[in-house]
């Protein structure tokens, strides 16, 4: 045991990992004391700084070609807690910093503290919760200890739920309450699983567990409980019911972050669990179950998206569907086969490109709703003439959702498709193609009326500056389609399958 312990030492640049969490945490505490107007300023100053830290972490991982590790308090696991950043963590940190920066800039128009008052409720809460979300997300992507990840998940819940009901309408309060119940149910199951693992192995450190774990009833029970809990938080079918009302009713900037990043956090931990904690188990059956649920999510989510009357609800149901793709990664990237590296890259890329595309689309939809005074799809005729940039953003985002080139979504789905063909797991390929067609259908439902010639009455002038923010995010989703091969090599850094198995 001692030998393993000494192997876990801090690496150069490890302090950056702590800094990525400390910055937003300090922002939360400072904003809370100084209040509304200062909270906005603190958040907006910290965001570029946080982006810088994320970039330095990515650079550090890139240079060393190995994960960065930091031991908090200098205590090595199992007694202490380690932070760890591999390729997947680094790209998630970068994506988070970018999306949060854009959402923050976008939200300035929605959450200013009105002149003449020291502080107002919604801005105070929004800017603090935004930083809280950011801290929690960074914790999730860096956490190396399953209990620490539990705390991170709770932090995430406490920041995300109040954002849903900031406007105080009964409808949003109900959505927030339902979200909270699902989230709490998820965390308690996760914690129960963690308890079983601690009882069996006396540690919750991911690295130590992976080297000790072998199949036993306790481990299977833990895996089932933790996965179920995480799926409830990720809103994977059939645990998706809470997501559409919550994501569709939140303020646009919050919807963007919830759909782009928050559901990905619990997905990220699910990946950590199966690929880093439990790789030594025979995972064929659970992986097939996850992918089957993912397939059902793709089909049901897309069909429901097709039937929505409101733009934001359509985008929210599309999230339910796109989450499904992520879970196809489990059977395709498991083990060590010629196709697993590609499948891993495909899954990660789907996570990233959906984050950018969906954030862009929610921001654009928010602008449409603000400008028209509603977001009914039937009332979007002629939108292309008055808000061409927003329609363009919806189109670019749609490209990535459908999986058409050139876009990150295309590359991601192509990689997953090829992996399923090469591994002979053709059902997933069929589902992916069907999902692409259905996505084409719901994107068409939005774009077709937008390009119709009709005169729209506007409630407010279209805000060009804020449309540009959404466009920047949509372009990121497209740019991911041009990722060089070095990027895919980067995503493999720290994968146990490549280093642990000879």
């Amino acid at each position: 045991m001692q030998a393993i312990t000494t192997a876990l030492t801090a690496t150069m640049g490890g302090l950056l990992l702590a800094l990525a969490i400390i910055l937003p945490v300090a922002g939360v505490l400072l904003s809370f004391v100084l209040g509304g107007r200062a909270a906005e300023r603190i958040a907006l100053y910290l965001m570029p700084a946080g982006l810088g830290v994320a970039a330095m972490i990515a650079l550090g991982v890139w240079r060393s070609g190995a994960p960065l590790v930091y031991l908090l308090g200098g205590w090595p696991p199992p007694l202490g807690i380690a932070l760890r950043a591999d390729g997947f963590s680094a790209v998630m940190l970068l994506t988070t910093a970018l999306v949060i920066l854009c959402a923050g800039l976008f939200a300035r128009a929605n959450f200013p503290t009105p002149a003449g008052v020291n502080e107002a409720r919604a801005p105070f809460a929004f800017w603090i919760l935004l930083q809280g979300l950011w801290a929690a997300l960074n914790m999730v992507f860096l956490g190396g200890d399953l209990f620490n990840l539990y705390v991170a998940l709770e932090l995430l819940t406490f920041a995300a739920v109040p954002l849903v009901c900031l406007d105080g309408r009964a409808e949003t309060l109900l959505a927030a309450l339902r979200y909270l119940v699902f989230a709490l149910f998820g965390s308690v199951l996760y914690l129960l699983g963690a308890a079983l693992l601690y009882g069996a192995y006396g540690t919750l450190d991911i690295g130590l567990l992976s080297s000790r774990i072998s199949a036993s009833p306790a481990v299977w029970a833990a895996a089932a409980l933790m996965t179920t809990g995480l799926l409830a938080k990720t809103a994977l079918f059939p645990l998706h019911l809470w997501l559409p009302p919550a994501h569709a009713n939140a303020p646009a900037a919050a919807s963007a972050i919830l759909s782009a990043l928050v559901v990905k956090a619990s997905f990220f931990i699910t990946v950590r669990l199966w690929f880093d904690v439990l790789p030594s188990l025979p995972v064929e059956t659970p992986a097939a179950i996850l992918a089957t649920l993912g397939s059902l999510a793709i089909l049901f989510g897309s069909v429901l998206a097709l039937r929505q009357e409101r733009l934001k609800l359509l985008i929210a149901y599309s999230t339910v569907a796109q989450i499904g793709y992520l879970f196809l990664m489990f059977p395709l990237a498991a083990g060590l086969h010629p196709w697993t590296a590609d499948a891993w890259s495909g899954g990660v890329l789907q996570t990233l490109s959906h984050a950018f595309a969906k954030a862009a689309m929610f921001l654009a939809a928010g602008l449409v709703a603000e400008t028209l005074g509603h977001d009914r799809i039937s009332g979007l005729r002629g939108l292309g003439k008055v808000m061409p940039m927003s329609v363009f953003v919806l189109g670019l985002g749609g490209l990535s959702l459908m999986g058409l080139p050139p876009s990150g979504g295309f590359t991601a789905k192509w990689l997953l498709l090829m992996a399923s063909v090469r591994s002979g797991q053709w059902p997933w390929a069929i589902v992916m193609l069907a999902g692409g067609l259905l996505a084409g259908g719901y994107v068409y439902r939005v774009l077709a009326p937008a390009f119709a010639s009709a005169d729209l009455s506007l409630k407010a002038p279209a805000p060009r500056n804020r449309e540009r923010i959404a466009l920047a995010l949509a372009l990121c989703a497209i740019l991911l389609g041009f990722a060089p091969s070095g990027f895919f090599a980067f995503l493999q850094i720290g994968r146990p399958a490549l280093t642990a198995i000879p």
Partner: protein
Amino acid sequence: MTVVNALDIGLAALVLALAAWTVAAREAFAAAVGYVAYGLLLSLVWVRLFAVDVALTEAAIGSGVTGVLLIRAAARLRGATPALDEPLAPPLRFLAGVLCAMVAGALAATVLLMPDPAPTLAPQAVGNLPSTGLGNAVTAVLISYRAFDTMLEKVVLVLAVVGVWSLAPDACWGGSPGAPRPARPEAALAFLAQVLPPLGIVVGIHIFWVGADEPGGAFQGGAILAAMWMITMMAGLTEAPPVSSTRLRLVLVSGPAVFLAIGLAGVVIAGGFLAYPSGSAKPLILFIEAFMTLTIAATLPMLVAGPPEQPPQP
């Protein structure tokens, strides 16, 4: 079967009976009262497991403060409660019951089959105690070995306060939490509120202070102090401070802020974030714990008081 064993079985049966009552009771209010009794008995189980720190926390927070929160909510909701979803049809209810019984059974079997004695970190936790200067290993885990968890959990409390406050009507922003105080407090409650706090404050501070070496610490001491403040507020002797109060906000963040500041200082003076320099670990830890006690003592009552419901006083 020994006497002790029989007592354990009786205690477990009572705990389970109260838990079943909490689920099955017709009225939410009765269920909430049942939950408080349940929590108190559960803390006895914790004592039987030789986890006195947890027993204190469970009694003070898990049962006490949570109980006040739930009972008050049940009282306010009496009559109408918005339902979150449709009630399950009887066959589905039965099916859910069977499934939950299976989960419980599988879990019980798993726990019984798991290694006993279990793998443990106790030797390492105790072995490293000298470098922290502490005598209570649980406190050492909370404030040193796993300090990161504890610090962030305090941030969770701050976010919970923000979340609860964010539910205020806009017009009440900056005002005091809770409904306007009753004109005439109940005599019995007012009496308790005058007699208990001096005693409670001494006990709370004592529990915080001994926590370095014996069962107790910031959580438990803070919770007792919180209870004292809650009693005086409920009796109408004091009013909750307005949410715009800078002093209140400073107290609410002081625990995590001091923790973070000393943690950062550790980078310079002890070679790592959240590391303590050898030799002066104990005073630093006590310093952090003092502020955490303060933060908990203020946060718990503010969370129970809820969002501001009165417009700010001019």
